[in-house]
Amino acid sequence: MLTQRLLLSDRGGMVVLGLVVLTAILVPILNLVVPTSSPFYVSNFTVALLGKFLCFALLALSVDLIWGYCGILSLGHGAFFSLGGYGMGMYLMRQIGDRGVYGHPELMDFMVVLNWESLPWYWQGFDMFWFSLLMILLVPGLLALVFGWLAFRSRVTGVYFAIITQALTYALMLAFFRNEMGFGGNNGLNDFKEILGFDLAAKTTRVGLFVASAIALVLGYLACRYIVTSRMGRVIVSIRDAESRTRFCGYQVESYKLWLFVFSSMLAAIAGALYVPQVGIINPGEFSPLNSIEMVVWVATGGRGTLFGAIVGAFSVNYAKTFFTTFSPETWLFILGALFVLVTLVLPKGIVGLLGHVRRKGDKS
């Protein structure tokens, strides 16, 4: 019954999830077992890249859930992603211990440089993995709760919401750039050594993180799917299409929006937490408003309002980004800019919508 609801009734989703599972099985084998000389060998670089894409896909999912289904455009989802990333970064920093450049047993290198005497209170506890994990979920969730409560309660919607979320991430970016905040200033957190005792430079750890990202994506997808196929999902869509009508049906629109926003922020935070150990750095640049808007474009390109569309979008746009920034960095911003315009003007339903359109045409003729 639940499988029917979550998977079988969703053909596109099944295809996309199948591909994700397939890569999660094949890539580790091709990377670890196949000899380097073989043409089937998957390089470490590719593993890291795909792992990054998986995190982005999860992030896109979180954006799609609130924008595609509930019509709330958040231009500040990068903030939740980065907060999750910083949470993980703090755990990884604490794991360095006395192996830092200055060899201080407790303080991070940048704290030593700032002449700090002791660890700030908000760094306490991050040496424990479970605590860090909890914080990775709680801090962005709490921020989303407070921010969303304030915003939805006073019925800040549409463009206004988009602008103040953008201001939120902008403010956080400025704050994290400050050295006194205690998050490494503009260098951010880097030079990580190990996670849960595994060496981050080791091949197996990287593959492990890759598989973990794939699992997180699949679980995240199923959770989102559970929400959108429930009655709550229908309420959310009706809020998107006719908010005040939904209210007159007896639904407290604000609390629906709020819980969805909080859930989505946590999803984004998980994506951030998985992203950081794979790229090895987190800095305030991740908070930049541009990043947050880019996420929206992944979703728009893939097709908003369909969950697998978000995944398709995240993969295709980021693949294009990698391709163009390697071969012709000048053109990438042109292409990204053109993508924004084209998707909104010509392809309101994104790639998925286009595919559906083509298929329906094929069926007819």
Partner: protein, 278 residues
């Protein structure tokens, strides 16, 4: 009321605090022991100096079918907005039954308490199917967690099927609501009102854009609803009003100009003046 007065209020032994009042919930009885189910008293609303409602007084009896007519800008829609909580009046009070102060409740609680509304322009959820539209409106627990984890109960489903038959949309149950014709959308919206099982129905121009046959059908439905529900109909179509009306209220410039049977109202010289001009 000054803060000191408010503080004094709290010392009274018979004081009932707002938070102690039960929240209105679907199907809960409304105290109508004195007759009327809806009391609108001395309500004024102004937008930038323009008085949309001007000391409006209106009492709706339990189970009554009331038609409200009036020229454009008489305040009909604003009155509905005030009752459903969309607009807060500058002065006045609106009570639902003896106890429930509607001015203190947000829109969704007013809806849960049993006041349903049909808009002038049909507003249905076009991206959802007909069935899902009705499912959304069905009276049930509407909290986030409940809707996440529960489908409709068997009883609610039966009621839903019943309404589907009543509004004649059973064949289209799983079609997208956006694909319905204009008349069918009107019906769907009425159906959504019915599954909500309200005590008071506010119906804004229900027959706009309907064919003659559909109008008749609607008239029959609305009259049959009266008795179990109180129905307030705002309409421009005089023939339609005449066909269903028992009691008619004429609004003009934000207050009640005349009230009575259709014949009484139509012969009232003031009403004739308002409608025909000097």
């Amino acid at each position: 009321m000054t803060p000191l007065d408010r503080l004094r209020e709290t010392w009274r032994r018979d004081q009932i605090f707002d938070f102690m009042l039960p929240k209105p919930e679907f199907g809960k009885a409304v105290d109508t022991s004195h007759g009327p189910i809806l009391y609108v008293e001395d309500v004024s609303v102004s937008f930038d100096g323009f008085k949309a409602l001007n000391n409006l007084n209106l009492y709706i009896d339990d189970g009554e079918l009331r038609c409200i007519i009036g020229p454009n800008g008489a305040g009909k829609t604003t009155m509905m907005d005030v009752i459903t909580g969309k607009t807060r009046p500058d002065t006045g009070s609106v009570y639902f039954g003896q106890r429930i102060d509607l001015l203190k409740l947000p829109e969704h609680e007013i809806a849960r308490g049993g006041i349903g509304r049909k808009f002038q322009k049909p507003t249905i959820f076009e991206a959802l199917s007909v069935f899902e539209n009705l499912e959304l409106a069905t009276a049930s627990d509407k909290h986030v967690w409940y809707t996440l984890n529960h489908d409709l109960s068997a009883e609610q489903r039966d009621r839903l099927d019943e309404v589907l038959t009543l509004i004649g949309l059973t064949p289209q149950a799983h079609q997208d609501a956006g694909a319905l014709s204009h008349g069918q959308k009107q019906w769907l919206e009425i159906g959504m009102l019915l599954v909500q099982n309200p005590r008071v129905l506010l119906v804004d121009e229900p027959v706009a854009g309907m064919t003659g046959e559909e109008v008749e059908h609607t008239a029959r439905l609305l009259t049959s609803l009266a008795g179990r529900h109180s129905v307030i109909v705002v309409e421009h179509d005089m023939a339609f009003v005449r066909s269903i009306a028992r009691k008619v209220t004429v609004l003009h410039q934000g207050s009640v100009l005349a009230e009575g049977s259709m014949d009484q109202v139509q012969n009232d010289p003031r009403v004739i003046e308002v409608y025909l001009g000097e």
